[in-house]
C-alpha cells in the first residue's frame, strides 16, 4: 500500500517536472468519418519553413467541402470560418483570403465547390510550430487540414504589430494604451480597498465580537452602525457615482468618434472549376483491418482525349501515392504522405473509355493515424479524393464516397 503510494507520488512529481511537449492539435483524436467526409484539403503549402520574428509566412492551399458530409454533423453550409491552427497567437494573422474574398468575418462554404485560400501570418514568438489550416464549422467544431512544421527564431521582444485607425492614429497592438487601462482599473481597486480596509481592519478584533453583538441586539442590530459608518457610506456612494460619470464624460471627450463592434457574415463565391473530363463511381469498398489495407472498386469514364492514371488517393489528410505516376516525398516527419502506398489495377484508362479499376491503399498510417476506428462510425461511409494525371502531367480530381465494409480476418 505504502509502496503504491510512493510510486504514485513519484509518477505525479515526474509528470509535473518532465512535461511532454504538446506538438500537435489532436487531429488524430477526431473521428475518421469526420476527417474523411468533411473537407478535402489539397496543395497546402507554406512560403517558408524557417523564419525570424516579424517575418511573414503565407499559408496557401485549396479545399473542397465534401459531398459526403455526415448527416449527423452540422453542415459547413451554415456558418463557418477559415482559421489557422497555431498554438495561440504565436503568429498574428495579417490577412486571410478565400478566392480573393477577405476572410475576416464568418461565411459559408458549399459542398463540392472549390475554395483557394491564402493566409498571411507574421511570426510573433520563437518556437517550432505545426501549422494547420482549419475550418471552424458552427455547432460542429474545427475541421483540421494538413500540418506543416515551421520554425521561428529571434526574439519575441522585437515583435511589433501596428494598426492605423481611420482617424490617422497608429496603434501599437501589443501595448495599446495599457498604462491607461491599468491606471483606471487600479483607481477602482484602490477605492474598493479603502472601503474594505475600513470595515475589516478599523475594528479589531472583528468577527467574533461583532457576531456576538449583532446576535445580542437582534432586531436592533442596526444600532451597531455608527454615524461615521453612514457618513462614509454616503461619501463612497458619491465617489462611486462621480468617478463613473466623470470617467464616462472623460472617455467621450478623449475618444469622441467610436463605432460599435463589427460583425456579420460575408458571401464567399466559389472558385470557377475547370470541367473535369472524367466520371468516377465508387463500387465496393472494404477495409481489411489486420492488413491496414483499403480495397476500393471504381468505375472511371475518361472523357478526355488523353489517357489518365490515378496518381494519388487522399482521405482524412492521409495521402497515398502511386509511385508509378508521382514522385512525392514527405516534407517532414509528420507529413502524412505514403510515397509508395497506392496500387492501381486497370490503369491507365485510355481516352474515351470506361473501365473498372481497383485501388489498394495499403499503409500503416491507417493505424498510426487512428483511422481504423472508422468501423465505429455511425453510418460506415467513407470518402476521399482521387487525383488523376494525363500523360502530360495535367491533374484532374474527383471525390469518391460510399459505404465501407470492414474485413476483420
Amino acid at each position: 500500500m505504502r509502496f503504491s503510494a510512493v510510486l504514485a507520488l513519484i509518477f505525479l512529481v515526474l509528470s509535473v517536472l518532465i512535461p511532454s511537449l504538446a506538438e500537435a492539435h489532436g487531429e488524430r483524436a477526431q473521428q475518421p468519418a469526420l476527417r474523411m467526409r468533411t473537407v478535402e484539403w489539397f496543395d497546402v503549402s507554406v512560403s517558408t519553413k524557417q523564419l525570424q520574428v516579424n517575418d511573414i509566412l503565407v499559408v496557401k492551399g485549396s479545399f473542397v467541402p465534401s459531398n459526403y458530409w455526415p448527416e449527423h454533423v452540422h453542415s459547413i453550409e451554415g456558418a463557418s470560418y477559415l482559421n489557422i491552427g497555431v498554438p495561440g497567437p504565436t503568429f498574428v494573422r495579417l490577412d486571410s483570403r478565400i478566392n480573393g474574398t477577405p476572410g475576416i468575418r464568418s461565411t459559408a462554404f458549399h459542398k463540392g465547390e472549390l475554395y483557394n485560400f491564402e493566409i498571411t501570418l507574421k511570426a510573433r514568438k520563437p518556437g517550432k510550430y505545426h501549422i494547420h489550416p482549419l475550418i471552424n464549422v458552427e455547432s460542429a467544431g474545427p475541421v483540421i487540414g494538413p500540418g506543416i512544421w515551421v520554425e521561428v527564431t529571434g526574439s519575441e521582444a522585437q515583435f511589433t504589430n501596428t494598426a492605423k485607425t481611420l482617424l490617422g492614429q497608429t496603434v501599437d497592438m501589443e501595448h495599446y494604451n495599457f498604462g491607461h487601462t491599468v491606471a483606471w482599473s487600479a483607481l477602482w481597486m484602490l477605492i474598493a480597498a479603502a472601503w474594505i480596509v475600513y470595515w475589516l481592519f478599523s475594528r479589531r478584533p472583528l468577527i467574533v465580537p461583532r457576531f456576538k453583538r449583532v446576535s445580542e441586539l437582534g432586531q436592533d442590530a442596526d444600532a451597531i452602525l455608527t454615524p461615521t459608518d453612514r457618513r462614509l457610506g454616503l461619501l463612497f456612494l458619491i465617489i462611486t457615482l462621480s468617478v463613473t460619470m466623470g470617467g464616462y464624460l472623460y472617455a467621450n471627450d478623449r475618444w469622441p468618434i467610436t463605432t460599435p463592434l463589427q460583425t456579420g457574415k460575408v458571401h464567399t463565391p466559389p472558385a470557377v472549376q475547370a470541367p473535369m473530363p472524367l466520371e468516377v463511381t465508387m463500387g465496393e469498398a472494404r477495409y481489411r483491418i489486420p492488413g491496414r489495407s483499403f480495397r476500393i472498386e471504381l468505375t472511371v469514364s475518361n472523357k478526355s482525349d488523353r489517357p489518365l492514371s490515378i496518381g494519388e488517393f487522399s482521405a482524412g489528410n492521409l495521402r497515398f501515392i502511386n509511385s508509378k505516376v508521382l514522385d512525392i516525398k514527405p516534407t517532414d516527419e509528420d507529413d502524412l504522405v505514403a510515397p509508395d502506398a497506392l496500387r492501381v489495377e486497370g490503369s491507365p484508362i485510355p481516352a474515351g473509355e470506361t473501365r473498372k479499376l481497383v485501388i489498394y491503399a495499403d499503409d500503416a498510417m491507417w493505424e498510426t493515424q487512428r483511422m481504423t476506428t472508422m468501423i465505429a462510425s455511425p453510418d460506415a461511409v467513407i470518402a476521399g479524393m482521387l487525383f488523376f494525371y494525363d500523360d502530360q502531367g495535367k491533374r484532374y480530381y474527383a471525390e469518391i464516397g460510399g459505404p465501407m465494409i470492414p474485413v476483420f480476418g
Binding site: H25, L166, R210, R230, F236, A251
Partner: protein
C-alpha cells in the same frame, strides 16, 4: 492585572480572549478572500466567460446585460450573510474585489504568460464599483428592498459607463481590407484563437432596436430592471442559506 473570563474555556483572561479573536480574524479573513476568489472566478467563467476574457466580445447589447445578472449573484448571497450576522456592508465590494484580483492574476498568468495573448486584449473589466454601489446603498437604506430597487438597478445601468473609459479606445474605427472594424475587432482577427471563430461572438443580437441609435442606454435600463428581480431573488437564496442549520453550526 487582567480580568478573568467567566467561561469554562482554555482562554482565561480578556487579553488572551482578544488575542484569540484577532487570531481568528487573521485566519478567517484570508481564507474568505481566497474562497471568494475561487468561487467567483468559477462562477464568472461559467456565466460570463468569453464576454469578459476578450476585448472584442464586450459589445453594447449582450455584455452589459449578461454581466450584471451574473455579477450580482454572489454579492447578494454573501452580502446577506455578512449583513445579517455581522452587520458588515461588504458583500458586494469584497466579493467583486476578490473576483477582480483573481481575474487580473489569471489573465496575466494564464492568458498572457501561458497562452501569449497581449494583456491589452484580455484584461478584465472594472466591476468593483458595482459592489460599492450595492454596499453603500445597503448601509444607507438598511433595506434589502431599497438596495435592490436602487442599488441593483444602478448595477445594471452603470456597468457600461463605468467601463467606457477603458473600452472607448477599443471602439475607434479601423479600415481593414475595405471593411469597417474597430480596434477591438482587429485584435480578435489578428491574434489567433483557434477554437473561437468569429461566428461565436454574440454581437448586437437582440430585438431591442427601437429608439434609433440609443442601443446602449436601452440595454442598460433593461439590465437594471432585470437586475432588481435578480438581486431580490439571490438575497432570498442568501437568507435561506443563513437559516440553514449547518451554517449556524459553523458560525
Amino acid at each position: 492585572m487582567t480580568a478573568a473570563v467567566p467561561n469554562d474555556t482554555a482562554v482565561t483572561t480578556t487579553a488572551e480572549q482578544r488575542r484569540s479573536y484577532l487570531q481568528f480574524d487573521m485566519l478567517i479573513i484570508p481564507l474568505v478572500v481566497l474562497l471568494f476568489m475561487g468561487i467567483f472566478s468559477f462562477h464568472f467563467a461559467l456565466l460570463v466567460g468569453d464576454w469578459d476574457y476578450w476585448i472584442d466580445w464586450r459589445d453594447r447589447r449582450w455584455w452589459p446585460l449578461v454581466t450584471p445578472l451574473a455579477i450580482t449573484v454572489l454579492p447578494a448571497v454573501f452580502g446577506y450573510l455578512l449583513w445579517d450576522k455581522l452587520r458588515l456592508p461588504l458583500g458586494g465590494t469584497l466579493t467583486i474585489f476578490c473576483l477582480s484580483l483573481a481575474a487580473w492574476i489569471s489573465r496575466y498568468l494564464n492568458f498572457h504568460l501561458l497562452a501569449n495573448f497581449p494583456m491589452d486584449m484580455v484584461f478584465p473589466s472594472s466591476y468593483v464599483g458595482l459592489g460599492l454601489l450595492l454596499d453603500c446603498m445597503l448601509l444607507l437604506t438598511r433595506s434589502w428592498f431599497f438596495t435592490g430597487l436602487i442599488g441593483a438597478f444602478l448595477v445594471g445601468l452603470l456597468i457600461y459607463p463605468m467601463n467606457w473609459p477603458i473600452l472607448a479606445q477599443y471602439h475607434v474605427p479601423v479600415e481593414m481590407d475595405g471593411i469597417l472594424m474597430t480596434v477591438a475587432d482587429v485584435f480578435g482577427f489578428e491574434y489567433v484563437r483557434t477554437s473561437i471563430p468569429e461566428y461565436l461572438r454574440i454581437i448586437e443580437q437582440s430585438t431591442l432596436r427601437t429608439f434609433g441609435e440609443a442601443v446602449t442606454p436601452l440595454t442598460a435600463v433593461f439590465a437594471g430592471f432585470i437586475n432588481i428581480i435578480n438581486y431580490w431573488f439571490w438575497i432570498w437564496i442568501g437568507s435561506l442559506g443563513v437559516k440553514a442549520i449547518w451554517i449556524r453550526k459553523i458560525v
